[in-house]
Symmetry: C2
Subunit: 194 residues, 2 copies
DNA sequence: TTTGTAAATTGACACGGTGACAAGTAGAAG
DNA sequence: CTTCTACTTGTCACCGTGTCAATTTACAAA
């Protein structure tokens, strides 16, 4: 993809990544990131127009490093709706902890920053498509509970697997990742399928 | 309570309330709040030590105005666990939209501000007690599904009725308050009770 | 009426962080 | 040896918070 092997650019992205990971939601200062990257503060502005854009590029870099697309193969190749639902919840649910630090920063910034808002909304839009596909697969199998429309079921699933819920259950309540996944899967299955 | 009829203090609180409501999560500037209150910026510092504290006091003022305590009577006087669960979800679920603007601001600030964090965590702690009481009532009735402990069931309920979920369902997905309440109640009942 | 006092105003300032800009420098490629 | 590029150094304007001091207004008590 866009991994134009620009060494300092990558170093800056990695530094931003680490900073945001180590303090989710806190939007590190440009000077701190520069220090961590071993580069002058001005160099950051040589590669990114502003702080927001740097963070947005950091999320894109993460997606590149982790290979989001490959990760979703499991859910797309699932034999039936139920398997697809499980696989999608599992894929996304296991992706959240990897991106949480950076994502949380964007979530906080999106309230006050239009670009951050757009970037995060896009990401959530993509994620919603996965939900919609899983719900559609259920509907095709006749496995979707009749009280739902595909639209409302997608809404529900999308909210159920939101970053906020992951954060509350694992961080605030101290659930393990496995407990989280098991409960969310069970809830999705129980509420959506028949 | 602490409604020491201090007229300018109240005017400032009301101005802050309106500002935060009109732009949830954006943490209005002191000068804007002052302008809206028809008072000098410095006057704000005469009544509140800093911006965070002003917002915290604004939430307390809201609780006072709305009479949180009275509101919870319905759930405390419910005849059985199931009724109590329903009543509590309804009480809190209907309270969220009233406080959302100010609450959202605290939620955003809590990442970077220790005082905001404490204030919001306290509020969430109180809310959790209500969840725990409802779950305990269910358990007493033998109506709690056996896969739960009281602890994990409380966690689940607490997350289910979080402000974040209300925001996503009603704001991002456009659900009506009634649809939101109905779905959350159904989910709580289905997942927690037998 | 004068005086005392509390509440608010006005205007100035330091601080921290972003982002813009200009001039200088090191090193590789021709 | 020059030239181009990437980076550095240093400076500056801007914005918003929080502090301070001096002043004004309003009102109550003597």
């Amino acid at each position: 993809m866009s991994s134009e092997k620009n060494p300092t650019r990558i170093r800056i992205l990695k530094a931003a990544w680490e900073m945001l990971d180590s303090n989710p939601g806190v939007a590190a200062r440009m000077s701190d990131i520069a220090k961590k990257a071993g580069v002058s503060r001005q160099a950051l502005y040589l590669h990114f127009p502003n702080r927001t854009e740097l963070f947005i590029e950091t999320t894109k870099y993460q997606d590149e490093v982790f290979g989001v697309q490959d990760m979703l193969v499991a859910s797309r190749t699932a034999p039936d709706g139920l398997a697809r639902l499980d696989a999608y919840v599992e894929c996304w649910g296991n992706y959240i902890p990897k991106i949480f630090g950076v994502a949380k920063t964007l979530i906080v910034m999106k309230e006050t920053d239009e670009d951050a808002d757009r970037a995060w909304s896009d990401r959530m839009g993509d994620m919603r498509e996965g939900c919609a596909a899983a719900v559609a697969a259920l509907a095709r199998d006749g496995a979707l509970k009749p009280n739902w429309t595909e639209e409302t079921a997608t809404d529900f699933l999308w909210v159920l697997i939101s970053v906020a819920n992951w954060e509350l259950l694992t961080r605030a309540c101290g659930w393990s990742q496995e407990a989280y996944l098991a409960q969310i899967k069970a809830t999705a299955r129980t509420m959506l399928t028949q």
